[in-house]
């Protein structure tokens, strides 16, 4: 390994060698070579709090699949690179995974900018890309079916959440948004949805994510006479905002995306601050034994929404390859919808899925993040949302809608 590394470096410096030949190369390999999948999560930079758990989720699925005999007898290897939460580094990492490791599917991109930057590489090389990114523009790219986005469309999420809030009696909702690709569209959707039912967006602030103090912003929230504040940000900044809202004595409802306040928030903030915080996320059916088993599989720690999604990315890629009978990118792309929607037998984990597919049965994968059904653009559809409330350092499920 060391030897080849130095060889590679030498080759890189010796540019001439690279000119001599170029060919994408056949993707044929024997039964003994492992199938390689690639993960590109953020391990450093702004996405750092999320990436490591996402990667562990994918690794767990791959281990389980390998213990179950792999894809038609072939073992699976998960190669990964750190995208550094930066599209430039992300593209270089994706290049390495696609061109050197020859991955047949790429998963776990987090930042919308990284996903959009690596997407063309994926469709040009016929590698399906599974992502958790929130920007709605991603599935509008000309990706020829290569993108599968398990994060529901942000317009859909905000609309659903706004309606739920209205149902709970919210009239004046303050929208506190970190600058992101969906801040403005969220604001538009909230204004329309709340306005149509007699409610209103009582204030809207777009803030800089990397700051450590938001006191004046919280003053604005306090003065807005709002019954609810929607915290449309990420873990580091939402943690600060929750603390500041508590200090200021905000007594309305605090509502946020589950990824902005995953269970780890209880380790960072005292319970009196988090109590009453309401979160929502796409979810599988709660009453199914599948969900219980999934929670057990993730161990005692509550699984955060991104890890749940990446768990599903890996499972779908493996099952699609098994279903198609060949682990190439195109086969995986064409078979994802066959294993996760339709009348097949419901499965929630890779082991059962592989067993059923080997037995020639049709499967319908229902994952940790929801039913995993995709529309023609690659957006998730038909998902339900789970609403949870923080109580004494744990989340309690309020309802699934």
């Amino acid at each position: 390994m060391m030897q080849t590394t130095i060889g590679r470096r030498g080759a890189l410096l010796g540019a001439a060698a690279a000119f001599s030949s170029f060919a994408i190369g056949g993707r044929a390999f024997s039964q003994t070579t492992p199938v390689v999948f690639g993960a590109l999560p953020p391990l450093t930079g702004a996405g750092g709090p999320y990436g490591p758990a996402m990667l562990r989720a994918a690794q767990g699925v791959v281990e389980a699949a390998n213990s179950a005999g792999g894809i038609k007898g072939r073992q699976i290897r998960l190669a990964f690179e750190d995208d550094q939460t930066n599209p430039d580094a992300g593209v270089r990492g994706a290049r390495k995974l696609i061109d050197v490791d020859r991955v047949q599917a790429l998963m776990g991109t987090w930042a919308s900018s990284v996903t959009t930057a690596v997407a063309p590489l994926c469709w040009e090389n016929r590698v399906p890309l599974f992502t958790v990114s929130g920007a709605d523009s991603i599935t509008l790219l000309p990706h020829q079916g290569h993108i599968f986005r398990t994060q529901p469309n942000s317009r859909l999420q905000i609309e659903t959440a706004s309606k739920w809030l209205l149902g709970k009696g919210a009239k004046r909702v303050f929208h506190m948004a970190a600058q992101s690709p969906f801040a403005q569209s969220s604001q538009d959707v909230m204004t329309a949805t709340l306005g149509a039912a007699g409610g209103a967006v009582s204030g809207y602030i777009v803030y800089e994510r990397d700051k450590t103090a938001f006191r004046s912003e919280v003053d604005t929230i306090m003065k807005s006479n709002s019954d609810t504040v929607m915290l449309n940000g990420y873990l580091p900044d939402v943690t600060i905002l929750l603390r500041e809202l508590y200090r200021a004595g905000f007594d309305g409802r605090r509502f946020t995306f589950a990824y902005a306040a995953p269970a780890s928030v209880f380790g960072t903030l005292p319970n009196e601050v988090t109590n009453g915080l309401t979160t929502f996320q796409p979810s599988p059916d709660l009453n199914s034994p599948a969900f219980t088993r999934l929670k057990a599989a993730f161990g005692s720690t509550e699984v955060d929404p991104y890890s749940a999604q990446v768990h599903d990315h890996a499972t779908m890629a493996i099952l699609a390859a098994a279903q198609g009978g060949d682990a190439t990118g195109s086969v995986i792309r064409d078979n994802v919808r066959k294993i996760c929607q339709g009348d097949g037998e419901k499965v929630d984990n890779v082991t059962d899925g592989l067993r059923l597919i080997a037995a020639g049965r049709a499967v319908n994968f229902e994952g940790a993040s929801g039913p995993c059904e995709f529309d023609e653009r690659g957006d998730i559809r038909g998902t339900k949302f789970r609403y949870e409330i923080a109580e004494g350092g744990a989340y309690r499920v309020l309802e699934l809608v």
């Binding site: 490591p52 990492g93 696609i98 919308s112 063309p120």
Partner: protein
């Protein structure tokens, strides 16, 4: 593997262009610029917007990228040229952050954090992706060659000698009757133009740009490239860029074989190793791999 190497050589070309631009500002004139990624971003955005929104032809977009960055460089230089180096370091660092924040927030112009996608590339779509890579390899390294020749000439011209004199001792240059401010502004403008041009080329290769891509880390990489190659020597800038890409990429393979550490720890080792190599280079080989052969000052 070939496709990967070619892509990395294209990246090395961008880094080489940036290092050349920085070399005019820092290497020749002695003005530090820790905001070079800001000029790079300006060039990228200018060209991307003009070609996708106003449908300018690509070469015109590239030129515009250089011009916009040059104009910003000129204004910046006028404000800061009389400042001492330490102030300059802080101001330029802040400038790059302002550019990034503006690109994030002025959605009407830049499409915000969503970025601009679908930026055209020469013959993209008409040729296969590997062919496109090869074409771009040719374009970028041609640009590197042209800029290198021009800057090498500049560096050995009377103009270049004045810049070096300013770098060595501003007061002496002023006493010798040289309008120091004017020379500094011109040098900064030329450097910024190269940085902007590099940004424009980058935008059309990647087809996508977003504020996240113009993080301060890129500035560090380019400073490292120039330090590694040898500050002041134009050849050094190119060698240094190749060195940085080799370092960035080889650490991927090296960190993969370290046993017993978690993925986050590997990522930390990788970023840490890059920072450490810059410190070690400054310490043990400050003249770089290709020391500058200067006629204005003999090394002791």
């Amino acid at each position: 593997m070939d496709a990967y190497l070619i892509a990395m050589l294209v990246f090395a070309g961008f880094y080489a262009l940036m290092a050349l631009g920085l070399n005019v500002i820092w290497g020749l004139t002695g003005m530090v610029n820790l905001g070079l990624v800001g000029f790079f971003a300006l060039g990228a955005y200018a060209s991307a917007l003009l070609t996708t929104k106003l449908f300018w032809p690509m070469p015109l977009g590239w030129a515009a990228g250089a011009v916009v960055a040059a104009a910003a460089g000129a204004v910046m230089a006028l404000i800061v040229a009389r400042l001492r180096g330490d102030y300059l370091a802080i101001v330029t660092l802040g400038f790059a952050e302002v550019i990034r924040l503006t690109a994030s927030n002025e959605i009407w112009l830049t499409n915000g954090t969503d970025g601009i996608s679908g930026i055209p590339g020469p013959w993209r779509g008409d040729v296969s992706p590997p062919e496109f890579n090869l074409i771009y390899l040719g374009i970028v390294w041609t640009a590197v060659a042209v800029v290198f020749v021009l800057l090498a000439r500049l560096s050995h011209s009377p103009f270049g000698r004045v810049l070096r004199a300013i770098r060595e001792d501003e007061d002496v240059a002023a006493v010798a009757g040289k309008p120091v401010l004017w020379f500094k502004v011109r040098a900064f403008t030329i450097g910024a133009a190269v940085l902007g041009g590099a940004g424009a080329l980058y935008a059309h290769y990647n087809a996508y740009i977003a504020p996240d891509g113009f993080a301060p880390l890129l500035t560090i990489y380019i400073v490292l490239a120039l330090t590694a190659g040898g500050v002041g020597a134009m050849r050094g800038a190119i060698i240094g860029a190749l060195f940085v890409i080799a370092l960035l990429e080889s650490t991927r393979f090296l960190s993969a074989i370290i046993p017993g550490v978690s993925p986050v720890q590997k990522a930390a080792l990788r970023e840490g190793a890059i920072a450490l190599s810059l410190i070690l280079l400054l310490r043990f080989r400050p003249q770089g791999l290709i020391p500058e052969k200067t006629r204005t000052k003999a090394f002791p």
